[in-house]
């Protein structure tokens, strides 16, 4: 590992677009810019939460970081080495230490294959030819996620939702990745099972020194699991910084609305919480300037001029809003 402060993964000005393909004699498809100039850094051992509502581009960032989706522009460095601008196959190979835990591992497991078979296949594909080593690694990982070796002979339908998530984690961890992208790792789980799975995720990070990119829409989970958080709206990061700081002093009007809307265990806040008007617009026809402007209570003519850049509002804390001074964001309540 090179120095503790060097970023393990560095993404700079990433742009990912979909569409634009031209059908025979037809008009080209509309281009959707799913990720629009995103920069972020993952330090070794860190957990960064990527938060936003459906369609904000958080999963696209994850897939681009993996190399499954090709970036349109921008650079990505892994351990200081540039891994962007490569053809898809090479990009994936260069990013082998980045692995992805599927949102619903139950759906990602083959119902006809035992758990042991599925894990074994993963290792074989990644070139571990020694059968003894494969078996040792599998047993070790099953134990690490809180299952035991007897699960090797079980089939996916015999497992509960929580156990399926654990197998999903084990399947990735046998590959000994350094960066794990967790895509909504607890969505659809009950509260008591969610707590167990989050506990396993936390423990694995410490035990194997993993670095997490934690994609989620659940703010209370991110607050609990991640030291840093990035808030996304329509393909852009609108605020990024230490989780504690952002939850205590949210700056961007969208972050404030999002945090206020998130259900908490304190009753009777509905009347005091203003709801954001309207719905997020379609990413195919965005307004000029700040894309949050049509729903923002503080919107002014200057918001329409240009996409607001992220600017520093505290230590390692920045927000992309040109009217922060006027919105009174900084005055502690």
């Amino acid at each position: 590992m090179s120095g503790n402060d060097a970023a393990l993964l560095e993404i700079e000005d990433l742009v990912t677009e979909f569409g634009g393909a031209k059908a025979f004699l037809g008009k080209p498809q509309r281009i959707v810019r799913a990720v629009d100039g995103v920069s972020l850094q993952l330090k070794p051992g860190q957990a960064l939460g990527l938060v936003g509502e459906s369609g904000c581009g958080k999963t696209t960032i994850a897939k681009t970081a993996l190399g499954l989706v090709r970036e349109k522009s921008g650079t990505m460095r892994l351990d200081g080495r540039v891994v962007s601008g490569l053809a898809p196959k090479e990009a994936r190979r260069a990013r082998a230490t980045v692995q992805y835990v599927h949102q619903d591992p139950g759906a990602a497991l083959d119902p006809w294959w035992s758990i042991g078979h599925a894990l074994d296949e993963t290792l074989r594909i990644h070139g571990i030819s020694d059968k003894g080593e494969r078996t040792t690694r599998i047993d070790e990982m099953l134990r690490a996620v809180g299952l035991d070796a007897t699960f090797r002979t079980r089939y996916p339908h015999e497992l509960s939702g929580g156990q399926q998530r654990r197998v999903g984690l084990a399947r990735i961890l046998v590959l000994r990745p350094r960066i794990v992208i967790l895509d909504e790792p607890t969505s659809g789980l009950d509260l008591s099972v969610q707590a167990t799975v989050l506990g396993v995720i936390d423990e694995l990070r410490q035990r194997f020194g993993l670095t997490y990119l934690f994609v989620s829409h659940d703010l209370s989970v991110v607050e609990r699991m991640c030291e840093e958080v990035a808030i996304m709206y329509l393909g852009r990061i609108v605020e990024i910084g230490p989780t504690k700081e952002i939850f205590a002093r949210p700056q961007h009007p969208y972050t404030r609305a999002l945090l206020a809307a998130a259900p908490r265990l304190e009753p009777g806040s509905l009347n005091d919480t203003p709801a954001l008007p309207g719905d997020p617009p379609s990413p195919t026809n965005l307004v000029s300037g700040c894309t949050f402007r049509p729903r923002c209570a503080f919107a002014a003519p200057k918001c329409a001029e240009a996409r607001p850049p992220l600017r520093s509002v505290g230590e390692r804390h920045s927000a992309a809003c040109v009217r922060l001074e006027e919105t009174g964001a900084d005055t502690p309540a």
Binding site: A195, L258, A260, P263, L265, E266, P267, A275
Partner: protein, 330 residues
């Protein structure tokens, strides 16, 4: 101020529901109870398989084919809904006295028909069974305005895919309100929505309840939503209603060990992320007595002897647990 305690508009007493399966009788609800007070929003909260949706289906009389209520009553005012013939339920209760908002706005609307066709077909105008299409249409448009759907006049000519998730949920809320029911049952109506949209819908429901004097049962798995929206709450575990009371009290000082442990799993409160040991029992072979007793750290022999009676250690805050038996009698 009212001197007498008002009577509940809907009360479920000791309701047991069994469903026949190939492996035998599954007892999905076991002596469940719930009281909906006039003008209040009552949350029903619990994990998957706890029977919260079955409770709603039992009220509406739409239990699965091999399901039947074996015990108890569902009182709508003076009438026991369990004794009513199917056509009376259809004529007087479903979509009349009681409106229903389903969970998934993406599935509840048929994608190939215009919204107008679907709403006008199901909507019954209150007090007028022979209403013309024009009066019906005007009624539906007024409802769409009440649920704050943008461009309500032209909404009827559009197809479901032309609406966002939040707007589709508004369409279904409008449909539930169509016959001016006094009671609304909502089954996880915001689970599929993003939090900012969820807040819009919760505020809308709260506003409509006040404006129209509605009483509402709101089923959810999210204690946070209960805290935002509801006045009172019932906590369910494995088909039993284990605790009920004012939301603030249940969240702050829960009585039942299950409620305590479940709230302690919430990321906001969890000291360590451990979960609840064990798993929810199968309704085919449920444990005797309190169904939580095999997982309960305070379990004692009395717990499996029989289901503990309901006691209220504090006014309005009741629990079914032997630990509280001597504190107060209900």
């Amino acid at each position: 101020m009212m001197l007498e305690k008002p009577a509940p508009v809907l009360e479920i007493r000791d309701l047991s529901v069994s469903v026949g399966t190939d492996e035998g009788e599954a007892r999905i609800l076991d002596n469940a109870g719930l009281a909906l007070m006039p003008g209040s929003i009552h949350g029903v909260v619990g994990e998957s398989g706890c029977g919260k949706s079955t409770l709603i289906r039992a009220i509406l009389g739409i239990l699965p084919k091999r399901g039947r209520a074996t015990h108890g009553s569902i009182m709508l005012g003076e009438r026991n809904l369990l004794g009513l013939p199917a056509d009376t339920l259809q004529k007087d209760v479903r979509g009349r006295a009681i409106g229903f908002i389903p969970q998934d706005p993406f599935q509840a609307l048929n994608p190939v028909f215009r919204v107008g066709t679907q709403l006008l077909e199901t909507v019954r105008t209150p007090g007028d069974s022979k209403a013309t299409r024009e009066t019906k249409k005007a009624h539906v448009i007024s409802l769409l305005k009440a649920v704050q759907l943008p461009d309500a006049e032209h909404a009827l000519d559009r197809y479901p895919h032309q609406f966002s998730g939040g707007q589709r949920q508004r369409l279904l809320i409008a449909a539930a309100l169509a016959s001016a029911p006094g009671i609304i049952l909502a089954d996880e109506p915001t689970t599929a929505l993003d939090v900012t949209t969820q807040l819009q819908i919760l505020k809308l429901l709260r506003g409509l309840a006040i404006e129209r004097g509605l009483s509402m049962i709101f089923v959810t798995h999210d204690f946070g939503v209960v805290a935002q929206l509801c006045d009172t709450v019932t906590v369910m575990y494995a088909g039993q209603t284990v605790e009920s009371g004012p939301v603030a009290q249940v969240l702050k000082a829960p009585f039942h060990p299950y409620t305590q442990m479940l709230l302690a799993c919430h990321p906001e409160r969890a000291k360590e992320l451990a979960g609840i040991p064990g798993a929810v029992p199968s309704p085919l072979r449920p444990p005797q007595g309190c169904r939580f007793n095999p997982r309960c750290p305070s379990a004692r022999p009395a717990c499996s002897a029989g289901q503990p009676p309901r006691v209220a250690p504090q006014p309005g805050h009741a629990v079914r647990c032997v630990l509280h038996l001597d504190e107060a009698a209900a």
